[in-house]
Amino acid sequence: MEKVIDLTPVQRPKGNESAPWAKIELKTRAAVVLASVVPGAIALAIFFATGIDFMAMLFAIFMPIQVVAAALVGILVYGRRGILEGLLVVVTIFFASFIVVLLFSVLWSVIDNGSRAISWQFISQNNYYIKPNTSLDYGGVGHAIIGSLLIVGTSTIITVPMGLATAVYLTETQGKTKGIIRTLLQAMSGLPSVVSGLFIYAAFIASGITSYAGWTGSLALIPLMLPTVARVSEEALRLVPQELRNGALALGAPVWRAFMMVTLPAARSGMVTAVLLGIARVIGETAPLVLTTFAADRTNLNLFGGAMASLPTYLFGFISMGFEESLQRAWGAALVIMILVAILFTTARLASRTRSQVRK
């Protein structure tokens, strides 16, 4: 008879016993709750009772009390070493919420001000005959939406194959220069957008090849879009298990066929994410378009014929005109851009979520 040796030295305790550090005493829990509620309550009470400046209240009353309270809880839980622990928690949460407040301020001001300007007519009409102080009942961003779609669409058509092929080089080949390319792509992602615009201006417009036109704008967006597309699709290709590739190769497929029929379909949703994030990266780019496509008031469907409006240049033009109505138009255009970005972003999220579910 076979002898079974039990190699587990000690049976691990079941349930709550197995993780003693996860048990938090009632006393500790109560202290934490008190420390996070009481300082805020005191500060708010003083704020409403005396009506002092909100920022002064925040920094002169709330923060000191909160810091002391957190340090006390730290001492209660960890002994004297706990003071810094309490401080860390307070500082972390303070900074994190500060930035969240700023973000919501941005979103709220765009939604609040933008929704006053937006209407069907604002989205569909163009800007012809519109003066800075024309009432919002006339004109809109229709021509700019069409222009943005044309310009960004063209650069997408050019950039996506380039970015995808770059990702292929980074994941599927044994090239020796992979590290350099990756570093360069990372560095390109920090390329100042105005430099990209100047580049296209110097190459095509200053040299007299063309005047302001839509296609120069598309070209100016390529260096900005390429790093995003390449890096995100590189991540997507990297997630495809090596075994799939090896299987296809072992069955006798040439590398390109293995890639096209096995790797690429497996990474499809990641590719969609890469494209969408790339578009979201450039759809709000202003400086390169100001330098290359200029602005136009009329709808222009021809990428090769004359100046072309786009949402960012429309917004750029209306910000500094100084009339109430022009400012309203700027907020409206900002809201349209944010809605476009949000749509792209949500779709990208959904696409990448289906990928992870499939993998499970």
Binding site: L87, T92, I99, Q186, A187, M188, F199, V290, I319
Partner: protein
């Protein structure tokens, strides 16, 4: 077993590391061409900008162009010197980075080590969303919503700490200062630094963190003695990437900064400052051909400067993740 003499052990097959079919060669060729297009684009940018600005560099002198501080298109001969803008860009980026680093590290730490899973997911979404806000929208927000608030903060800073030279303000005008521009830049670059830091944090070896906790360390000592030293390189790289982005920021700064060709060395609350990128876009509209050459030259300086910082940053990030090959 007997050895089959008719069929001896076959000759060892040659292992091919190179593609041997024509289609594969095309496939790899296309991939390589695309990868090298990144190099080509960067060099083309440099070539075109330098060729357009060579005359400016020649006329103004490279040293004078970069370190002088007069820009006047009405003079004859025209005088173009960049230093106030270059220093302004650096100053604003330094303010922005100094404010963004603690916030970004806090957020990354909160997401990775403090928050429950569901909260962490939402927080990650928020960070990604922030990264997706176009800079012109931030500029609009900065100019019409945030400036007044930030001017109030500046006033209080000046009232409390006015005796420190950097918080001096002699003009009683707190609008359009480098400090406000720095705050707007902070909103811009926090998501960049935070997402890189979070990635580095999430790839850390959990065992050493657990070991530190098991030895009686608390959160603070674990962060200070284990997490930051281990993840330090990657965090520095992320910070440099944020710095590069801040240097090149254009339209978000344009509306919240008073561009003046008079070097503002350190008085961050004064209503004067500079930024190369914003200066280019604001002067471009009414620039004559000669001044456009000067703007191109400014673009070259900005490009070379950011490229060096970004390349350094991505090198550091790559070094900090040796498991990524």
């Amino acid at each position: 077993m007997t050895l089959n003499v008719d069929r001896p052990v076959p000759e060892r097959r040659k292992l091919a590391a190179k593609p041997f079919s024509k289609a594969d060669r095309v496939f790899f060729g296309v991939a390589r061409a695309a990868a090298f297009s990144a190099i080509v684009i960067v060099s083309l940018i440099l070539v075109f900008l330098v060729s357009r600005s060579a005359s400016t560099f020649a006329e103004q002198g490279i040293i004078d162009f970069i370190f002088g501080s007069t820009w006047d298109a009405s003079l004859s001969p025209i005088k173009m010197q960049l230093w106030p803008m270059l220093w302004g860009s650096i100053l604003i980026s330094l303010i922005g980075t100094a404010l963004a680093v603690p916030m970004a590290i806090s957020i990354a730490y909160f997401i990775e080590f403090m928050a429950p899973k569901r909260v962490a997911k939402v927080a990650t979404l928020i960070v990604d969303l922030m990264a997706a806000i176009p800079s012109i929208v931030l500029g609009l927000w900065g100019a019409f919503v945030f400036t007044d608030v930030a001017a109030g903060w500046s006033k209080q800073l000046n009232a409390l700490f006015g005796w420190i030279p950097i918080f001096e303000n002699n003009s009683d005008n707190f609008l359009r200062s480098p400090f406000i521009a720095g705050l707007v830049v902070t909103v811009m670059i926090v998501p960049i630094i935070a997402s890189i830091t979070r990635e580095i944090f999430s790839q850390m070896d959990r065992d050493i963190i657990n070991a530190s906790l098991a030895l009686g360390g608390n959160r603070e000592s674990t962060l200070r003695k284990v997490i930051l030293p281990t993840a330090g390189g990657g965090v520095v790289g992320g910070v440099l990437l944020g710095l590069g982005r801040a240097l090149g920021e254009t339209v978000a700064i344009l509306y919240v900064l008073n561009l003046v060709f008079d070097t503002n060395w350190y008085q961050i609350l004064e209503s004067k400052g500079g930024s190369i990128a914003s200066m280019i876009i604001s002067k471009f509209g009414e620039a004559g051909p000669e001044e456009v050459g000067g703007l191109m030259a400014a673009g070259v300086v900005l490009f070379v400067f950011t490229l060096i910082i970004n390349a350094l940053a991505s090198y550091i990030v790559a070094k900090a993740q040796p498991w990524r090959k």
